[in-house]
């Protein structure tokens, strides 16, 4: 049967099912196929905190959204054009996000009276006209999968597990994806269970063939590859990019890396990843708690390692006292906070930007810590290198503030060459630096105010450091009022001085006549950028600045803010950056906030920004 092939410039697909249905894996594979095909893409995994939430319930729904296009895109998309729902709960939980006219592909297998009643549907919505206005493909996905695997030795239950591969096969056909890598992936993943590998491949092919042969699917779509800067690309998630960035930083600094961490969502993947790469001289230490994680990291930093600790909000709260010690000892360290919804346990698997003020101020005393934030999954790599640069140059703990959306989301990434990454070489102190041939552990570099890093094992530089206030230069205990005042101000000045090493901010104001500036930080980069494009497409002007360094702010930020009549700050918290900006620059910034555990929708942001422009 010959099918129509329709060209699209972009598609947003969401695949949803029970958290045990393999939705994340299906999404990952479809993403890999899409990346390999050369589309630009952006993903949004969304899953419950429970590993196996009750089956068939709304709470147990896990989904994966992928936006891909023939041009460069910034977000995983606001509203799916296509929803694949593996059961009634997945349909109910997601239908509200779909625009009219969207395509539904629904597995009808579980549309029993009981399952429908369980989620509050009195009758079958696939049959009672509820979805008029949508293109509905009611497919017996599970049954078709079972049929395809009828000749295998698998039990019905085991065979049914392959239904996600059937769905993947169907989608792969619909969007003309290359399939070779998925087949290889399945063979490798189930290398020790060839019968399972075979079943998954059969299901995948059955799905593909179903699309090709059945009349229900009349159209096959094509989304052409996106033009990209030349080079070699791969798809990468934020946590993976962050882990790779850390390894690269260790390599480029010539230092052994030490990671002290305690497992916590959504940061654990970084611990897992780094644990695999011991050959690069990386020691990973799963500590008894977060305090021990950072404690051990601090000990390793004292010994000359590139110290890293990874956690999320609750763990960062525990680390507070030790971060203060690191500030006082002036030792380099990278503290990765992969933010999630809070307070307390909050929303462990959802995203939020609500730890900014914790990173900024969450310690006793005046304890300034530089803050670096990545803006996209791939950017986590560069942000990690920037965090290492600051930590090593200024001998200070540095916060690397990622979040759940960046951590699990993915995008195409132009693979850098290691040799071309920044040189992060540091020199330990080797000689006494005092006037009398003595060693002064707190004698500072006049430019950076960094103190010498004298590691144990260096003869003649034996010294003691501690959390009690230290006398300038000697580092001996000092309770002198003037000395304390001096030391507090000096530690602050050191962190403030980092601003001198920052490049000028990139102001995206293509029309040059914008009167409204949108200022953002972290993972809101995509939605803000997409919203700005929409506004410009509609003929209005708007400027965008996105901060990589939040503490200290870049030196030119004040002037830039002053150039615009209005400054809007969208954040996934209740206005934490806005608070800092207002306090520092006395700018009457408009704070736009959302704490739904999900990224902003570009459409909604655009509408809101349009409102600000019009009420000018």
């Amino acid at each position: 049967m010959s099918k129509t092939v329709e060209q699209l410039d972009r598609v947003v697909i969401r695949i949803a099912g029970d958290s045990g249905d393999g939705m994340q894996l299906t999404g990952d594979r479809f993403t890999a196929e899409t990346a390999l095909f050369g589309n630009d893409l952006s993903t949004l995994p969304n899953f419950p905190a429970e590993i196996r939430a009750p089956q068939g319930t709304l709470a147990g729904v896990s989904s994966f959204q992928l936006h891909f296009a023939d041009h460069d895109i910034l977000t995983p998309g606001d509203r799916p054009d296509v929803l694949v729902a593996m059961n009634p709960a997945a349909l109910k939980a997601n239908i509200g996000d779909l625009p009219k006219g969207a395509t539904l592909i629904v597995d009808t297998h579980d549309f029993t009276e009981r399952a429908l009643a369980r989620i509050g549907w009195a009758s079958n919505p696939l049959e009672d006209g509820t979805f008029e206005g949508f293109v509905v493909h009611a497919v017996e996905l599970t049954k078709l999968t079972l049929d395809a695997l009828a000749d295998t030795a698998l039990s019905r239950k085991d065979a049914g597990r392959s239904k996600n591969m059937f769905a993947l096969g169907l989608l792969s056909w619909m969007y003309s994806r290359p399939t070779e890598n998925t087949l290889n992936f399945v063979r490798q993943k189930f290398a020790s269970k060839p019968e399972i590998a075979e079943a998954n491949i059969l299901a995948f092919k059955a799905g593909w063939n179903y699309g090709e042969t059945t009349e229900a699917f009349a159209v096959q779509y094509e989304v052409k590859p996106a033009p990209q800067v030349t080079g070699t690309y791969r798809n990468i998630s934020g946590n993976l990019a962050l882990a790779y960035g850390l390894i690269a930083a260790a390599r480029r600094s010539g230092l052994p890396m030490f990671l002290g961490a305690y497992p916590i969502t959504p940061a654990s993947d970084i611990l897992h990843e780094l644990s695999k790469h011991k050959r690069f001289g990386i020691r990973t230490f799963q500590a008894e708690d977060e305090i021990a994680g950072i404690g051990a990291t601090l000990g390793a930093a004292f010994g000359g390692a590139l110290g890293v600790t990874t956690s999320s909000g609750p763990g960062i709260a525990l680390k507070g006292e030790a971060i203060g010690l690191a500030v006082s000892l002036e030792l380099p360290m990278i503290i990765c906070d992969i933010q999630r919804g809070g307070p307390s346990t909050g929303l462990p698997t959802k995203t939020e930007q609500s730890d900014l003020l914790q990173a900024m101020y969450g310690r006793n005393g005046e304890a300034p810590v530089p803050i670096v934030a990545p803006q996209s999954p791939g950017d986590c790599f560069d942000a990690a290198i920037e965090a290492a640069r600051i930590a090593l140059t200024y001998r200070t703990p540095v916060f690397l503030l990622s979040d759940g959306y960046l951590a699990n989301g993915s995008e195409p990434w132009l693979v850098p060459s290691v040799a071309e990454l920044p040189d992060l070489t540091v020199e330990y102190a080797t000689e006494p630096n005092g006037p009398n041939g003595d060693f002064l552990p707190y004698l500072r570099d006049p430019e950076t105010l960094a103190r010498p890093w004298a590691v144990p094992g260096t003869p003649g530089l034996e010294h003691r450091v501690g959390g009690i206030e230290k006398a300038d230069k000697t580092g001996n205990i000092s309770y002198d009022p003037d000395n304390h005042d001096f030391m507090v101000r000096t530690r602050q000045a050191k962190v403030d001085g980092i601003a001198r090493s920052l490049p000028p901010l990139a102001v995206d104001d293509p029309d040059g006549d914008a009167r409204v500036l949108v200022l953002g930080w972290g993972s809101t980069y995509g939605p803000i950028g997409a919203a700005c494009r929409q506004i410009r497409a509609s003929g209005a002007s708007i400027a965008q600045v996105h901060l990589r360094n939040i503490n200290p702010f870049p030196n030119d930020l004040g002037d830039i803010l002053a150039r615009y009549e209005k400054v809007v700050i969208p954040e996934m918290n209740l206005g934490q950056l806005a608070l800092l900006i207002r306090a520092k620059y006395l700018v009457d910034a408009i704070s736009v906030t959302q704490v739904r555990g999900l990224p902003f929708k570009a459409d909604e942001l655009a509408e809101m920004l349009q409102g600000v422009i019009e009420h000018d």
Partner: protein, 342 residues
């Protein structure tokens, strides 16, 4: 090792120019002097020794040792030292901690360092009181302790640090006394020679807030009756004339008996190398709340691979399989699925 060069270090080489600020008469002075006097014996260059402490009177210790040192935060020294020791196995890393520091706020880190067998020498100064915060009861204070925070007497059952350490399957546990320099140094010697975590509990007098806590083990007329000196391979006999002994009863339990005949086969011969920690644990349970029947010396010293060495070995193994050079990192960054835009 061949041709060991004698570094010729002296006790004074380990003193710093900092004024020691403990209360006059504090047991910490004696411990500091004993440690400084012992260090030259190690014949380890000062730059390769690190002292890490938490918070408390005792934790001021590193400021007075002319080595590398860190006075950290309350309770966390074992964790900090774990990071240093595992990433720098070439160093000799010592932890100084108090009974509150090690067993209250830092109890978690202590037991985990012990179970991992990180190569650390932990000196736990037990004065059975919070000294620095001016005299509240501690997790080793006897029940009913009257302090500022417990005017009607403390309610909680204390920890016996040796029992805690053995419960965590520490590979080396010893106990000694601030005022007995020779004994203290002998236990330090064995601890220093031990590969892995060595916990040494040092009974320390706080003459300001808990004076005389260990007097029965110090005074000439009582100490022989209450202190059980342990030497590996020797019978556990004590009392002025050696007529008291630790004996193994019919049910296998250890008890103390007076007037034990010289050839009594029930007298326990101390075996610090017993693999099963329950023997050492039983010894640790002999003492009463007021330190009567305190076994002193090395309870347990057994061999187990150190965490540091095993971690280093994994790194070596990984690097031996495929070196972690730029080419390897480039390959890692590329991964399996790449595409190229020309």
């Amino acid at each position: 090792m061949t041709d060991v060069v004698d570094l010729g270090l002296k006790a004074k080489d380990f003193k710093t120019d900092q004024e020691v600020r403990w209360c006059p008469g504090c047991g910490d002075y004696a411990i500091l002097a004993a440690v400084q006097g012992f260090m030259p014996e190690l014949n380890i260059a000062r730059e390769n020794i690190v002292f890490i402490s938490g918070i408390g009177c005792s934790s001021r210790f590193p400021y007075y040792m002319n080595t590398y040192g860190m006075h950290s935060i309350h309770g966390r020294a074992p964790a900090i030292a774990t990071g240093l020791s595992t990433s720098r196995p070439d160093l000799s890393v010592w932890v100084v901690t108090g009974d509150g520091d090690a067993l209250s706020i830092g109890g978690n880190h202590l037991i985990h360092a012990l179970r991992r067998n990180v190569n650390l020498k932990i000196l736990l100064f037990n004065n059975r009181i919070y000294g620095l915060t001016k005299g509240q009861y501690s997790p080793t204070s006897e029940v009913g302790k009257i302090t500022k925070s417990t005017p009607m007497g403390s309610l909680d059952n204390p920890f016996n640090p040796v029992s805690v350490a053995l419960g965590a399957e520490a590979t080396f546990v010893g106990r000694t006394l601030d005022s007995d320099r020779k004994h203290l140094q002998s236990v330090l010697r064995e601890a220093a020679n031990h590969e892995g975590t060595a916990l040494v509990e040092i009974y320390q007098n706080c003459n300001i807030f808990n004076d005389g806590a260990f007097d029965i083990l110090k005074q000439a007329d009582t100490r022989d009756d209450w202190m059980i000196r342990m030497e590996h391979g020797q019978p556990l006999r004590f009392g002025g004339d050696g007529s008291k002994a630790v004996v193994r009863g019919a049910n296998g339990a250890l008890t103390i008996e007076d007037g034990v005949a010289e050839d009594d086969p029930r007298v326990v011969i101390h075996d610090a190398h017993a693999d099963d920690p329950s023997y050492a644990f039983a010894l640790s349970r002999l003492s009463s709340l007021d330190s009567r029947y305190s076994p002193m010396g090395v309870f347990r010293s057994v061999k187990r691979p150190t965490y540091d060495a095993m971690m280093a070995e994994q790194l070596e193994q990984a690097a031996a399989k495929a070196p972690g050079d730029d080419a390897a990192l480039d390959a890692l960054l590329h991964g399996a699925d790449t595409w190229t835009i020309q």
